[in-house]
C-alpha cells in the first residue's frame, strides 16, 4: 500500500485513526506491517502490500 492511503483509512469498527508500523517497504510501497487503532487498540495486518481491514471476526482463521 502507498503511505498516502493512511490519510483515508480508519478502523473498520470504531472509525478512529490508525497508526502505521511498517516492517518492509519497497519502492515507496509498504509491503508488510501493522495498522493499530489509536482508540480501541485493535491491530490489522498489511499482507503482501494490501491492508487487511476486515472486521477482526471475519479474518482468515478467526
Amino acid at each position: 500500500m502507498k503511505e498516502s492511503l493512511m490519510e483515508i483509512v480508519c478502523c473498520p469498527m470504531d472509525k478512529h485513526d490508525l497508526e502505521l508500523d511498517a516492517d518492509e517497504r519497497d519502492d515507496g510501497e509498504i509491503i508488510s506491517g501493522t495498522l493499530t487503532c489509536t482508540d480501541c487498540g485493535e491491530s490489522y495486518p498489511i499482507e503482501d502490500g494490501i491492508p487487511n481491514l476486515l472486521p477482526p471476526d471475519m479474518r482468515d482463521g478467526a
Binding site: L5, I8, V9, K15, E47, I50, N52, L54, M58
Partner: protein
C-alpha cells in the same frame, strides 16, 4: 461473509466472464460512465478485479476477496481488504462511491448504504449498478441462479426496493439509466443506454442527498 468464497477461488472464471460477454460488459460500463463522467475522489465498494473502477477512473477499491484485489492492484487501483458493512474509511472522504453487481452479495443492505453515505461528502454521489430482478432478463437470472457459483448465494433486488432502502439511508435525488435487453451472451454490441428502468436487465442509479 459466505459470498466472498467463490470470488477467492474462481478468479479465472470471474475474469473470463468479462472476455466471453464483452458486449454486455461494454454496455454496463457505458451506462455507468453516463452517470459518472468524472468521479473526483472515488471509491468502488466490492471492487473485485477493478473491471469497472479502473476504466471509470475510480482511485480506491475495497473488497473482502484478496485474490481479486491482487488483480485490481495491477489495474492501477489502490486496494484495501474490507467489507461494505464496516468500511475502513473516514467520514466524508469521497466524492463518488460505486457499487457494481455487488448489492446482491452484501450481507446487510441497509448497513451497506449507511456506510456508503457516511464515507461520502455532503455533495457526494452513490452510484449502484445491478441486475434488476423485475426486468425480463433479470427474471431469467433468478431462474438460472443455482447454475452459477457466483450468483448461487446472491439476493437480487428490485429498483423500487433499492430506492426505498436508499431513502432510508438519507438519499433523496435519483437518476436512472438502463441497458442490456438480451441475455448477456446474446448481446451484440448494439445495446442502447436509455434513461429510466423497467426494460433493461442492468440498471444504474445515481443517488444524491
Amino acid at each position: 461473509m459466505p459470498t466472498a468464497t467463490p470470488f477467492e477461488e474462481r478468479t479465472a472464471q470471474y475474469e473470463a466472464w468479462f472476455d466471453d460477454n464483452e458486449a454486455a460488459y461494454r454496455a454496463e460500463l457505458a451506462a455507468l460512465r453516463r452517470l459518472v463522467p468524472s468521479p473526483g475522489d472515488g471509491l468502488e465498494i466490492g471492487v473485485g478485479s477493478a473491471r469497472f473502477a479502473a476504466p471509470l477512473g475510480i482511485g480506491v477499491g475495497v473488497d473482502p476477496a484478496a485474490a481479486m484485489l491482487d488483480i485490481a492492484r495491477e489495474r492501477g487501483v489502490d486496494v484495501v481488504r474490507g467489507v461494505a458493512e464496516s468500511l475502513p474509511f473516514g467520514d466524508g472522504t469521497f466524492d463518488t462511491a460505486l457499487l457494481v453487481t455487488t448489492i446482491c452479495f452484501v450481507d446487510d443492505i441497509p448497513r451497506t448504504l449507511a456506510e456508503a453515505a457516511r464515507v461520502l461528502g455532503p455533495d457526494g454521489r452513490l452510484v449502484i449498478g445491478y441486475i434488476d430482478k423485475e426486468s425480463p432478463v433479470g427474471a431469467r437470472y433468478l431462474e438460472k441462479q443455482s447454475d452459477s457459483p457466483f450468483y448461487r448465494e446472491a439476493t437480487f433486488v428490485s429498483t423500487e426496493g433499492l430506492v426505498d432502502a436508499l431513502e432510508d439511508a438519507g438519499f433523496s435525488e435519483f437518476e436512472f439509466v438502463q441497458t442490456l435487453y438480451d441475455w448477456p451472451g446474446e448481446a451484440d454490441g448494439g445495446e442502447p443506454i436509455e434513461p429510466g428502468y423497467g426494460e433493461g436487465s442492468f440498471v444504474a442509479i445515481e443517488a444524491t442527498r
